[in-house]
């Protein structure tokens, strides 16, 4: 099963960088560069994984996080926060809103990719169990 990943990041270079690496591993990737367009996409469709920046123009990452987790369709959506905000209280707040993982910028690309791979493998396992 091809996993659907949404990247919400206003820094175009960082967004493209993550997208390039994930597409290379055959994930289906959508990119949003501000909170508003991310909100629109997320309302229409459910994603397996959302990679989310916090400081976004318009609607911030915390709001997006809440929006995803408030929708029961997104019960299984994994949220990976990637942010330059590195205070414990920001991390705690993100977790309270339903984020599953928090990486501080400048992040390690290898650990982001391995996190995505791990989540993806777990999703496959769940899928196998359900389809039995």
């Amino acid at each position: 099963m091809v996993k659907k990943i949404m990247i919400v990041e206003d820094d175009k270079d960082v967004n493209d960088l993550i997208a390039y690496n994930l597409r290379k591993e055959d994930f289906y990737v959508e990119q949003a560069f501000d909170g508003l367009s991310a909100q629109e996409r997320i309302r229409k469709e459910s994603f397996n994984i959302v990679i989310l920046d916090i400081m976004l123009p318009g609607i911030d990452g915390f709001d997006i996080c809440k929006l995803i987790k408030d929708d029961p369709r997104n019960f299984h959506t994994f949220i990976i926060v990637v942010s330059a905000k590195s205070h414990e209280q920001d991390k705690l707040y993100a977790h309270l809103l339903g984020a599953d993982c928090y990486l501080s910028k400048p992040f390690n690309l290898a650990s982001l990719l391995s996190t995505v791979r791990e989540i993806s493998a777990n999703l496959d396992k769940e899928f196998l169990v359900k389809s039995r």
Binding site: D11, K12, D13, V14, N21, A84, P106, F107
Partner: protein, 369 residues
């Protein structure tokens, strides 16, 4: 016999009276000295008795709480200073007979932060009241918050390009070097972000230099129009790329007395912004208006303008109307802040008039001599 005794008594009384007079003078002098000290203290001082009735307050306390000694004297503390936190401190001191020190945030009647030191007043070993010394630390706390915000902002600004540099280097090392189509592009991105880091660090150093108290302006008389023409010629290729025309209408021979290199930086930052945020085939105009003993310089552009809500904050460090756009255009968010500081160092002031969609007029006023 009786007379002589009377005389002796009178002279004794006289000398005693003299001693009393001296003592009263001494006490009066001491009282005056204490009043002078209390009156000149930067801290507010309030004395209350054991029933928390206000005995006395100094002028600083009158100012802080906006109340006069006349209106406060004899009244219960909470009646004149409706603040439970301070009243609690007084109650604690009157009960515990020990000094209490506490930082309190006041919202009403004024929004301030105070360090309150309260000590008991003793009269023959019995607590007869409480003395409050109130130190206004609002400004200290405000500066601390500003410094913390600044450090947070700087680290965020440094982390942003660093994230890209690190990510693209990792990607190249993980095999993207073989990807001929993308690898050159990735290297270009790394280069751009390294340049951005460099610009940011230079701007930060400039700003910290300008803001430091030790800065000495190297003032000289120079021709303003000549300087502006030099700046404009430096931007020729950048302007040409967007088809922007830059015109200076500064009168020849207009001399000002200022630090030439600093004023050059002001023009560089303003013209750079005027080009960056301009539309294709737009214009940049630089002109002056002569005021009494001052000169007003205007840098006008035909760009996208600034929304009214952003205008009051546009000269703040790291304040940007559109963060993503500023980053894309290589802005550090410090350019206008540097402009403001330089002009204020010269005893002038800056401002902006702007209509969204039509363009902006950034101006500054400098004293001529």
């Amino acid at each position: 016999m009786f007379n002589s005794r009377l005389k002796k008594k009178i002279s004794e009384l006289d000398s005693e009276l003299e001693i009393f007079k001296q003592r009263i003078d001494l006490l009066e002098n001491e009282n005056n000295r204490i009043h002078a000290i209390l009156n000149s203290m930067v801290e507010g001082v309030i004395a209350v008795d054991k029933d928390t009735r206000v005995l006395w307050l100094n002028p600083t306390a009158e100012n802080i709480f906006n109340i006069s000694q006349k209106n406060a004297q004899g009244k219960i503390f909470l009646e004149v200073f409706p603040n439970n936190d301070i009243a609690d401190v007084i109650a604690l001191v009157l009960k515990g007979k020990e000094p209490v020190s506490k930082e309190l945030a006041l919202i009403w009647p004024v929004q301030k932060v105070f360090q309150v030191n309260a000590s008991p007043i003793f009269e023959s070993k019995v607590t007869s009241g409480c003395l409050l010394v109130i130190h206004d630390i609002t400004e200290i706390r405000r500066l601390e918050t500003m410094r913390r915000d600044f450090v947070a902002n700087v680290s965020h600004e440094l982390k942003t390009p660093l994230t890209s540099i690190k990510g693209f280097v990792e990607t190249l090392l993980e095999g993207a070097l073989e990807d001929k189509e993308n690898s050159v592009n990735f290297l270009k991105i790394i280069n751009t972000h390294a340049d951005r880091l460099n610009t940011l660090i230079n701007d930060l150093l400039d700003l910290s230099h300008i803001e430091s108290k030790e800065i000495v302006l190297k003032k000289d008389k120079f021709d303003l129009a000549g300087l502006v023409n030099e700046v404009i010629s430096g931007f020729k290729s950048q302007a040409k790329k967007k088809g922007i025309e830059i015109n200076s209408a500064l009168p020849q021979g207009l001399e000002i007395f200022a630090d030439k290199s600093k004023i050059e930086q002001v023009f560089t930052n303003l013209v750079n912004n005027a080009i960056k945020y301009n539309k294709e085939n737009g214009f940049v105009r630089i002109y002056s208006e002569q005021l009494a003993d001052k000169i007003k310089i205007v840098v006008e552009d035909s760009g996208s303008g600034i929304p009214a809500k952003d205008i009051p904050r546009i000269f703040e460090r790291f304040y940007r109307v559109d963060k993503a756009r500023s980053r894309q255009l290589g802005g550090t968010g410090l350019g206008l802040s540097i402009v403001k500081h330089i002009i204020e160092l010269h005893g002038g002031n800056v401002g902006v008039e702007s209509t969204e969609g039509l363009g902006s007029k950034f101006w500054f006023i400098l004293p001529i001599s």
